[in-house]
């Protein structure tokens, strides 16, 4: 009897010791990256979709499009030789974090991954992505515009297949414009500022918003003004040219700082509840964004209540009539170097979201702005009357010309770092503690120092 109690006590003690150790392990935070759990390889387990042809080999895919389930089902129904096993590993940053960890640890990446254009260079440099030219990428080259193809290429190599683009335009509130007597939307940034002054003088709402969490917009405007922040070619992986202190960068940042200082635009971060509710309530007269904006905003509840049909699209104002079109966002499918069967993976990357049913589903729900020419040239797409824009043919009037005029952009291999630093400086500009010129020179020196620390030879 007594021995029994001792055993029981010992058992209890042992259990509590394990529990305590577990707790301790859970509590500590000091460790390094080894704590990051990448999980087991996602391959062929826990597919979030149904496999139609069970005998066919499977390819794992990470993607987060809102309609991805439909897209995957379409692909699997159409292909007997290969099936997609899809997982949603997070939208944007969370997915990149997992992929980053998988590259570092050498395992755990999917075969095919959805990536935004701006992320490609960094992962290419880390040898995370496969050049798709030997796997037939050029067969689908004709489906895309020159600019869209340039964004996924490095010289003659191609590292991803484009799906969706982000040609930029200006969305405005017809009711606010009418109330304050703006008959034609501003076509230049000078006019934009003049109209903003006019609305403010009449006691109107903010004319727009300069958010610190969208350095992509400021970068796009810099490109529009003729700036080339980064010049990078994977053929010479150690050389990079950084020009963030150029006249174009200073001009754009000074212009935005001026709008903020005169309180013509707000400084609310975008995609926050506060911002979206402000947009619905008519707190902002314009929204500078990309073609995928309406889909996102509709999802967040914009254009469904009293503001229904009040939005319209206009071409993005420019600094100069000869300015090129600019892009914000855009996504692709790439094959990872950890893919088990690269030929099959490439077939998936080239074929997913490329069939008519999926593309139609994507653009009619406005979740993507398709880059596939078969859609861009189809009359259904061109002449579509957007409900969000009150029946305006926004594709024809704004977004298709913008996409046709897009020439591509050189992203750096350290986009995340660049955006994080830019955001810090934009916050200071919005707080009025930093001028545009100073921000440009600080950004330049921060990025040059970082690039050198990473082993790049920097030319300025």
């Amino acid at each position: 009897m007594k021995g029994n109690t001792v055993k029981k006590k010992a058992l209890a003690a042992a259990i509590s010791a394990v529990a305590l150790a577990g707790l301790l392990a859970a509590c500590t935070t000091g460790g390094g990256p080894s704590k990051a759990s990448t999980g087991t390889s996602p391959k062929l387990t826990n597919c979030s979709n149904k496999i139609v042809h069970k005998s066919a080999p499977e390819v794992s895919v990470w993607a987060w499009y809102p309609n991805i389930k439909t897209v995957v089902d379409n692909f699997n129904n159409l292909h007997k030789d290969v099936q997609i096993c899809w997982t949603n590993a997070g939208q944007g940053a969370p997915e990149y974090t997992k992929f980053q960890t998988a590259i570092a640890s050498g395992k755990g990446a999917p075969d095919v991954i959805m990536l935004e254009d701006e992320q490609l260079t960094g992962f290419e440099l880390q040898k995370g992505l496969v050049n798709l030219v030997p796997y037939g990428a050029n067969k689908v080259k004709g489906n895309f515009s020159v600019g869209a193809w340039k964004d996924v290429s490095q010289g003659s190599a191609v590292y991803a297949i484009p799906v969706d683009g982000g040609p930029m335009g200006m969305i405005y509130r017809k009711d606010i414009f009418a109330k304050y007597g703006i008959t034609t939307p501003p076509t230049t940034w000078t006019e934009y500022e003049a109209d903003a002054v006019k609305v403010k003088a009449a006691g109107g709402p903010l004319f727009g918003d300069h958010a610190s969490n969208t350095p992509q917009v400021d970068t796009a405007l810099i490109a529009q003004d003729g700036g080339t922040p980064f010049t990078y070619d994977l053929a010479k992986p150690k050389d990079i040219k950084i020009q963030l202190d150029s006249q174009a960068v200073q001009d754009v940042l000074n212009y935005e700082a001026g709008l903020v200082k005169q309180k013509l635009v707000g400084t609310q971060d975008q995609f926050t509840t506060d911002y979206v509710s402000g947009l619905i309530a008519g707190k902002y007269a314009t929204y500078i964004g990309a073609a995928w904006g309406p889909g996102y905003l509709t999802g967040a509840g914009v254009g469904k209540g009293s503001d229904s049909g009040q939005f319209a699209a206009a071409p993005l104002p420019s600094f100069d009539p000869s300015d090129p079109s600019v892009n914000w966002g855009g996504s692709t499918f790439a094959v990872t170097t950890q893919a088990t069967d690269k030929t099959l993976a490439a077939e998936v990357a080239e074929g997913i979201y490329a069939d008519k049913a999926s593309l139609t589903n994507g653009w009619t729900t406005q979740t993507i702005f398709p880059l596939n020419q078969s859609v861009l040239k189809s009359s259904a797409f061109v002449n579509n009357k957007s409900a969000f824009f009150g029946g305006q043919q926004a594709n024809k009037a704004v977004y298709i010309p913008a996409e046709d005029n897009y020439k591509g952009f050189d992203y750096s291999p350290f986009t995340n770092y660049y955006y994080a630093q830019f955001t810090t400086l934009l916050t200071k500009i919005n707080a009025g503690t930093l001028s545009g010129t100073d921000a440009a020179s600080q950004l330049q020196s921060i990025m040059v120092k970082y690039a050198q620390g990473q082993g790049f030879t920097v030319t300025q």
């Binding site: 003690a13 394990v18 150790a21 577990g22 460790g31 960890t101 934009l426 707080a431």
Partner: protein, 317 residues
């Protein structure tokens, strides 16, 4: 754990006295059994704490640039860390934060514990639960909730200020974010510390109070002269907890980042900086270095603190 010690302790003591020969064998067996008892903890400890730490330290001695391969760096990374303005500003921020936060937290939790200790009504039990409740709310949920409370368009602040026709301050703006986070963290943790102090107060022998009252001490004097000194070791325990926790500040600011309009930067605290280095910028080596550098800072801070309070604090000695 204490149970194990007593359960084992009784047998062998008698054995060693009587039978030296068999005793040694028993002693060996005893130490083997001892190891067996330690094993569950030791294995978890080694696998989940020591091994990752060793690996992280190993990583921190190398450097890997995006354009270069991995090279041995020795202590170069540490030199870089301690001259890195992002890291130093982060450390400076968490130190300032600790200096303001810890006294506030301790005063709030001590006051609450003393009041609850003095009350014996049913209300006291209810109040104790309510004060403890924020700690039971997961930190992430708590931080999200505060994000809404601070919201310039939905928050109660904007409505209160709106009554007077004034514009509510945005408590997460670059100049207010310090105070805004102090409120969140105090709310989150004061209840937990209150329970620790309260438990210590319950452990005091009530005859001391009677003696004090006979000597003519009033309630205030009993609280300040008897109760507070009697729970000083609990207070020091709290201080060390709070100091370590604050120096490793991570969850609240990272949850509030999306609603803070850029006030919470990617190098806001050393832990946020280390996280971003590793998972946003692919610099696992340097992130390990920053983690270790923070560990060194925390160790030094806690050591200095324990040294300074060595006469009163007894829980670690």
């Amino acid at each position: 754990m204490a149970d194990t010690a007593t359960a084992l302790g009784t047998h062998p003591a008698s054995v060693t006295l009587g039978l030296p020969h068999r005793g040694r064998r028993r002693l060996n067996r005893r130490s083997r059994v001892g190891w067996l008892f330690v094993a569950p903890f030791a294995i978890v400890f080694l696998v989940f704490l020591v091994a990752p730490l060793v690996y992280a330290f190993y990583l921190s001695l190398f450097t890997k640039g995006l354009a270069t391969g991995t090279t041995f760096a020795g202590i170069d990374n540490y030199i870089k860390a301690f001259t890195d303005t992002s890291f130093l500003n982060g450390v400076w921020f968490v130190f300032r934060f600790s200096i303001v936060l810890i006294p506030i937290q301790m005063l709030v939790s001590l006051a609450a514990a003393l009041v609850l200790d003095a009350l014996t009504t049913r209300f006291a039990r209810f109040a104790r639960l309510m004060i403890f409740l924020p700690y039971a709310v997961p930190v992430v949920i708590g931080a999200l909730m505060w994000g809404f409370l601070y919201s310039p368009s939905f928050g109660p602040l904007s409505q209160i200020f709106g009554l007077f026709g004034a514009q509510a301050p945005f408590l997460l703006s670059p100049s207010n974010v310090f105070g805004g986070l102090i409120i969140v963290v105090t709310w989150q943790w004061a209840g937990y510390y209150m329970i620790i102090i309260y438990a210590a107060l319950r452990g005091i022998d009530p005859t001391l109070y009677e003696a004090a009252r006979i000597d003519g001490a009033n309630a205030w004097q009993v609280a300040v002269r008897i109760k507070v000194p009697m729970v000083s070791s609990a207070l020091i325990l709290i201080l060390v907890f709070a100091l370590i926790g604050t120096l490793q500040f991570f969850v609240e600011p990272s949850i509030l980042t999306p609603v803070a309009n850029g006030s919470i930067t990617s190098d806001f605290t050393p832990n946020i900086y280390a996280f971003n280095l590793a998972f946003q910028y692919a610099q696992f080596n340097y992130a390990s270095t920053i983690s270790f550098a923070l560990g060194i800072v925390v160790f030094i801070a806690v050591y200095i603190f324990l040294f300074a309070t060595r006469k009163r604090g007894s829980f670690l000695s």
